[in-house]
Amino acid sequence: MSTPDEPDYYKKEDLLNISTAPPPTSWMETPVDFRRGSYIYPGKAKNLKVVDLPNPRDWAVTDVDWKLQDDWKRIILEGMADRLAKYRSFRIFMDTCVRCGACADKCHFFIGSGDPKNMPVLRAELLRSIYRKDFTALGKVFGKLAGGRELTVDVIKEWFYYFYQCTECRRCSVFCPYGIDTAEITMIGRELLGLLGLYVNWVLEPVANCFRLGNHLAIPPHGLVDTLEFMADDIEEATGIKVDIPINKKGAEILFVTPSGDFVADPGIYTCMAYMLLFHELGLDYTWSTYASDGGNFGLFTSHEMMKRLNNKIYHEAKRLGVKWVLGGECGHMWRVVNQYMDTMNGPADFLEVPKSPITGTVFENARSTKMIHLMEFVADLIRHNKLKIDPSRNDHIRVTFHDSCNPARAMGIIEEPRYVIKSVCNNFFEMPENTIKEQTFCCGGGAGLGTDENMEMRLRGGLPRGSAVKHVQDKHDVNFLAAMCAIDRATLITVCDYWAPGVKVTGISEMVANAMTFTGEKKRTVNLRLEEIPAWANGDEAEGNGGDTDE
C-alpha cells in the first residue's frame, strides 16, 4: 500500500478530475485544507539556529498552535512596511494589479489543481488584501469594501501553504500586462513568514548545510573528493581515460561551480562526469572548490539576505584561489542568482578578469562585470569553433526534447545556446509545443524548494502541464529523452515523466555532449556514461572519430 509520499498513491483519473468552479464560499472565508501530500514539513529548530533565524522551535503544520511570537502581528506589519519602502517591485505589484485574470491559467499549479488560490492573481491577493487594509487610504477607511481583510493566524497559515505552493517560475509575469512577478511576491511573502520562524525544512536544511559546508547536501570536503574520485573511476571504465580532479587548486585559471545535485543524484552525476571529461579533453586549467561546492542557492527560496549569505562564497573562493574567472554548470535557479543578483549582492568582482575562452579566444563581453559564464555559452562557442570532436550519430538511439528551465529562460534568456549544443550532438531533436517552451516554458513542479516527496500530490499536479507536453512529443515523435540544464529538473522531472509520460528518461545536456564526443586516448567505447551498453557503439565502427564537422 503506497502512501501520500509516493506517486503510486495517486490515480491519474483522480488528479485529472480538476474542479472547474471555485468553491461556494468567498476566498477570504475559505480556510486552508492541509491535506497530506500537499504541504511541506516545517523547518527544524536546529537548522534555524545554524543560520540564526528567529523563533526556532519544533512544530507541525497540522498543529492548531504554530507557536508564533506574542507580537507576531506587529512583526509582520513592520516587516511589510520595511519591504514596501525597500522594494519598488513589491509596492508597484501591490498597487497596480487590475485583476484581469490573464495570469490565472498560466500557473502550472492552477492548471493541475484548479485551486483558485493557485491563480497567481489570487496568490498575490493573499498578501495584497492585508496591504490594502493596513497600508492604503481606502482600505483603512472602508476595510472589507475596499478589498481589505484583517491579519489573523489563519491568514498566516494560508500564506504558508500557498507561498510554498509557488515555484517562483515567473511564467505568469510573462503574460501580465504590468509585469507583476509572482516570484517577487512569493519571495517577500516567504521573508515575512520567516520573521515568525516559519520555513519549510526542505529549504532550510539545505540552507544550513550550504552555509556551514558550502553545499546543500552537506557533503564534507573529503566526501567531495571521494565522490569525484568515484566518478573518475566510472569515467575510466566507460572511456579508458583517467581524468584529473583538481580541487581547491590555487592559481587555476577557472573556478568551476555547479549545483551540488550533480554530485549525488542520478542522472545529475552523469552530467558531472561529462564536465570532468570535457575539461580533461580541453586541458582546461580549472579547479573544483570544496568551500564553494554549490552554485545552487536555496537562499533564493528563503530571503534576499540568505541568498546573499550563501552566494558570497563564490567570489570569496575565487579571490582566495586567485582564479581569473568563474564557469558555472547546468543549473536553473543558480543562474537566476548569478545573472540577476550576484554582482549586486557580492560584487564588484574587480579582482577577476573578463571571461575569455582559453581554447577559442572568445571574450565573453556579456559577463564583463560579473565574470561568470554559463557552461552552455562556453560549449556553444567551442562547438561553433570546431574545437570538439563530435559525432552526433553516437546519440542516434536518443530522440530528445528540451525542457527550458524556468530561471534560465525567464531570468536570463539563455534559450538558443542549449539548443545549438543539443542539435550539434544529437540528430533527433524535437521541440515541445510552443506554448510550453522558451519564455513560456512550464515548471517541473518542484522548483523553489518544493521538490520533496511529502509534497508529492502538488508536484504531480504542478508537473501536469510539463508532463502533458512531454507525452505529446513522445506520442508524436517517439521522444525517449528529455534534456534539461537544471539540477532540480534532473531530480524532479524523473518523477513527472514516470507519472505523466512513462518511458521518457531525463538527461543533462553535457551528458549528451560527452557521449557524442571522441576523446584523445579513449578505448573502444561500448557503454555510455551511465555504463549502459549501447548496441550501435559495440557493433559499429563509427566511434573512430568522424566527428567535429558540426559547423553550419
Binding site: A21, R212, E317, N435
Partner: protein, 330 residues
C-alpha cells in the same frame, strides 16, 4: 455580491449627479467638484508616482521573454530581452502602446484524454486595447469644449472618427468601440467564474463609472438636445479660472460630468494607478545586462557570513587527510 454593491453605488452617483441641474447647485457640480477632482487627480497621482519613484530598486530583475545577448552569432531578441536603455524603451513602448504582454494571452484547456492544450486568446487583448485607445481619442475630442479656437488636430480626429457618416449628429466610431469594449470587459468578469471569484468592488466600480460616463455622453449627443455653447461656456470659464454657470445645462450633462469627476478623483487611490505604474514596473523597464553592467543596491548592508577560514578551521584535519590543499597546516 460585489457587483451588486458596485452597481447600486454607481447608480446612486448617477442620481446624485442629476442634482447639478437644481438651481443653486450648479456651482457645486459644475465648478467646485471639477476643480476638486482635478486637484485630487493631479496631486494624488503625482504623490503616488513620487512615492513609487522614491522607493529604491535594489536588484535588476527583468522578466526575459526572448534570447539574451551573448555570443555574437546568436541572434539577440532585442525587444523581448533588452540589453540597453534604447531597447528597454522599445520594449516599454510595445507594452504601453500595444499591450504586448496581453497579446501573448492563451487559454488553457483540459482535454478528455488528460492532455492540456493551449489556444490563442486575443479577446482580452482586443477589448482592452480598443477600450483604452478609444478612451484616449474620446478625451482628445473633448478638447473641442475646452479650447478656443478648436485645434486642428481635434477637428481632424473628429472627422476621422466620424468617417462612417451615420446619424445626425454623426456617430463616432470610438464611442461605439469604447462602449463595446467596456461591455465585453464587464461581461467577461461576470461570465468567467474564476474571474468573478477574484473581482472586488474596486474592479466593478471603475467599469460602471466608465459605462455611466459613456452612456450619459451618448445620451447627450444622440438622445437629447444639448446646449453645447452653454457647456463650452462652462468649460472655458473653468479653464480660464473665471467660472460661470449657464442655467441651460441639462441634468444628464451634470451626471456625465459628475461621474467623470468621481472617476478622476478615484484614479490615484485604486487599481487605476496602473496607468502610471506600468511605466515603473521593474520586470519590464530594466535591461537584462546585469552580468555586463553592475547594478548597485543603495541599501545594501553587511550580512553574517561563514568565511573560508572558519570553514577550514572546522574541517582542516579531514581536508589534510583527503589530500586537499589548506591555508594553514594547523
Amino acid at each position: 455580491m460585489n457587483v451588486v454593491v458596485s452597481l447600486v453605488f454607481v447608480g446612486g452617483l448617477f442620481v446624485l449627479g442629476l442634482l447639478g441641474a437644481v438651481p443653486g447647485l450648479g456651482w457645486i457640480f459644475g465648478v467646485v467638484l471639477p476643480y476638486m477632482a482635478i486637484l485630487l487627480f493631479l496631486g494624488g497621482l503625482a504623490y503616488r508616482v513620487m512615492s513609487w519613484a522614491n522607493i529604491p530598486v535594489p536588484f535588476r530583475i527583468p522578466t526575459t521573454c526572448g534570447q539574451q545577448k551573448s555570443l555574437p552569432w546568436i541572434k539577440h531578441d532585442k525587444l523581448e530581452n533588452p540589453h540597453n536603455a534604447l531597447t528597454v524603451a522599445g520594449r516599454m513602448a510595445l507594452e504601453i502602446l500595444l499591450f504586448r504582454s496581453l497579446l501573448r494571452n492563451t487559454k488553457t484547456k483540459h482535454m478528455d484524454d488528460g492532455r492540456v492544450v493551449y489556444g490563442t486568446d486575443l479577446s482580452l487583448w482586443l477589448a482592452a486595447l480598443a477600450m483604452h485607445w478609444s478612451l484616449l481619442f474620446i478625451l482628445i475630442r473633448h478638447l473641442r469644449l475646452m479650447v478656443n479656437p478648436v485645434p486642428g488636430f481635434v477637428t481632424f480626429l473628429e472627422d476621422a472618427d466620424g468617417f462612417l457618416q451615420v446619424g445626425l449628429p454623426v456617430f463616432f466610431a470610438t464611442t461605439v468601440i469604447f462602449l463595446a469594449g467596456l461591455a465585453y470587459l464587464l461581461y467577461r468578469r461576470l461570465a468567467n467564474p474564476h474571474l468573478r471569484y477574484i473581482s472586488l468592488i474596486g474592479d466593478y466600480v471603475p467599469l460602471f463609472l466608465l459605462l455611466g460616463i459613456g452612456l450619459s455622453g451618448f445620451w447627450l449627443r444622440h438622445l437629447t438636445k444639448t446646449d453645447v455653447p452653454a457647456i463650452k461656456e462652462l468649460f472655458l470659464g473653468l479653464t480660464h479660472f473665471s467660472p460661470t454657470v449657464p442655467d441651460t445645462i441639462s441634468p444628464i450633462f451634470y451626471v456625465h460630468l459628475f461621474l467623470f469627476c468621481v472617476l478622476l478623483s478615484y484614479i490615484p487611490f485604486g487599481k487605476l494607478t496602473h496607468m502610471a505604474g506600468v511605466f515603473l514596473s521593474p520586470t519590464r523597464n530594466m535591461a537584462n545586462n546585469n552580468r555586463a553592467v553592475r547594478h548597485v543596491n543603495p541599501w545594501d548592508y553587511p550580512v553574517k557570513l561563514h568565511p573560508y577560514d572558519e570553514y577550514e578551521d572546522e574541517l582542516r584535519e579531514k581536508m589534510i587527510g583527503a589530500g586537499i590543499p589548506v591555508e594553514r597546516e594547523e
